[in-house]
Amino acid sequence: MRQIHEFRVDSTRYLDDHGKPLGDLPQQARDTERTLAAYRNMVLTRTFDAKAIALQRTGKSGTYPSVLGSEVTGTVIGQSMAKTDVFVPYYRDQATHLMRGVALKELLLYWGGDERGSAWKQCPQDLPVCVPIATQCCHAAGVAAAFRIRGEHRAVVCCLGDGGTSKGDFSEAINLAGAWHLPVVFVVINNQWAISTPRSIQSGAETIAQKAIAAGLPGHIVDGNDYFAVTEVLDSALERARGGKGGAVIEAVTYRLGDHTTADDATRYRSAEELKKAWEKDGVKRLQNYLHAAGLWHPEQEKALQDQCRAQVEAAVAEYLATEPEPPTAMMDYLFASLPAELQSQRERIARKYRGGES
């Protein structure tokens, strides 16, 4: 006697590769101000990104992971989240951080090797950039559990990459989200690559969204370069979460248009051909096309925006470069709430060693 149990995930897109609506747009599309605000953030992010790479190339900063290709999804996350929600990032979320109010200078400090770059003023509860892959998924579940424990109607958004879904942390965290009905939405930025490892080696699963089924969570695929699709799917997932209806896993399908980081050379493992194809789906250009076609955006506005973003980034870079380095003694000052007696002597040694090292 054989029985069948069925499971499903859905996938959504509204714009074609060139920004032409494939049919009726969701009603959020009527909110022109929101759409334009998103577009501005995408352009700012892309302007920042190019500058950050240049700083590394000229020895003025450290290894940096380009966000090229993630701007649309990242921007939507920042837009859909409420101020009181908590964002749990990985390390390629510049677009979201900027929407959440992280200062350009803070991002520069972080990637410039200065811990103060994580002392975010505007979104003090958001978790810092997370380098150990997928570990942040468990933190996201914990933050969401804290909301549930206190009966707060807030939600968590956790970002990770396609590679991150192979690490147990992701499975354990989404499983807890399902078991405890936690208000947390996991957004997987599927940019097709984990450094040199293609999506196909990462998992035999046809889609990443279907991993949600293992946790009893709804799974959604969305074109990560389609502003309207990401907005609709994320808005409704966050609404469900805040309403106590539990979490979700969203696979945002996009492509990593840059090297993995400035330390990487993607030409070693992927073809120019593939990259060229991916550029044709670029979501920023796509939204720009849509705005132009809809008569909501004009070349001179574009030029003004470009100039404004460049100026904003240059100002931040100037600030960053003018920032006094932290004194070496700082390495002891934030380890514990109060420095144990035992470590005082080590701190004094550092202070002695570095003239003016005392803070």
């Binding site: 978790l127 570990t135 468990c138 804290a146 354990e172 934030y334 144990p340 007696a341």
Partner: protein, 330 residues
Amino acid sequence: MKHSQRRDVTLVEAVNMALTWEMEHDPDVVVLGEDIATNGGVFRATVGLKEKFGFRRVMDTPLAENLIAGTAIGMATQGLKPVAEFQFMGFIYAGMEQIISHAARMRNRTRGRLHCPLVYRAPFGGGIHAPEHHSESTEALFAHIPGLRVVIPSSPQRAYGLLLAAIRNPDPVIFLEPKRIYRALVQSVADNGEALPLDTCFTLREGEDVTLITWGACVMETLEAADELEKQGVSAEVIDVATISPLDRETLLCSVAKTGRAVIIHEACRSGGVGAEIAASIAEAGFLDLQAPVVRVTGYDTVMPYFGNEQAYLPQVGDIMEAVEQVIAL
């Protein structure tokens, strides 16, 4: 309301008493782990908590230590004070990445913006006839990680006072409970919410001739050895290190300055154990005080045997006596 009633309790009961007190007085304290709610923990350390405080604050988790470690961190960044239980120390390793890379660093890497006021509890040590992987003493792994406090009680009173201190401490604490003596002795403990200081050794017995330095279950054999030695006219000072990281070197050095001799006793294997750091520190800072080398009485550099031979692995009173005779001879 400090209902300062005294109770005769074992070490594991004292743990339960401290958890109960703090959960009653601080709504931010929550506990989570495997089998800790309905079942009250496999050693009953959390028994009654779910009934008193409800499943929102007393959470049975799915079976995943990495998840337990990481979820507690997320909760802590929201200002909760999670007390997470690892069912046995032998199963904490899956949580190492979360503990080392996040719990120990959250405050430092965010320059104080976020922190982790959490406690990771785990029963540790051998000697209870348990199956393999249930008898670990790898406290040294955590003592080497900056940003962590590693606290080990060795009596019901210290279990109560140190656990309260650990929960109230704004930084992450690894709280290791010597399960071999979970029920070995009963002490009268005042349930008054009074914490004991962290980062401080406890001198359990004053002496002149030799300093015996230990922690955890070995405190029992060490005190026994001190009694034996007294009969032989040797006056031993016994120090329970209690907080093995950060280490209270001052108390240890003062004692050695007095006795001129030190023997360190721990259950963990010898090489790279916490005894090494203590011996190195004493040998360096106490160089001129020492009349004999600092000797270590420890487990062997091998895997804790299955229980058929575990007693042969554990340091015994005779081993401590032998070591003391050796250093006294010089």
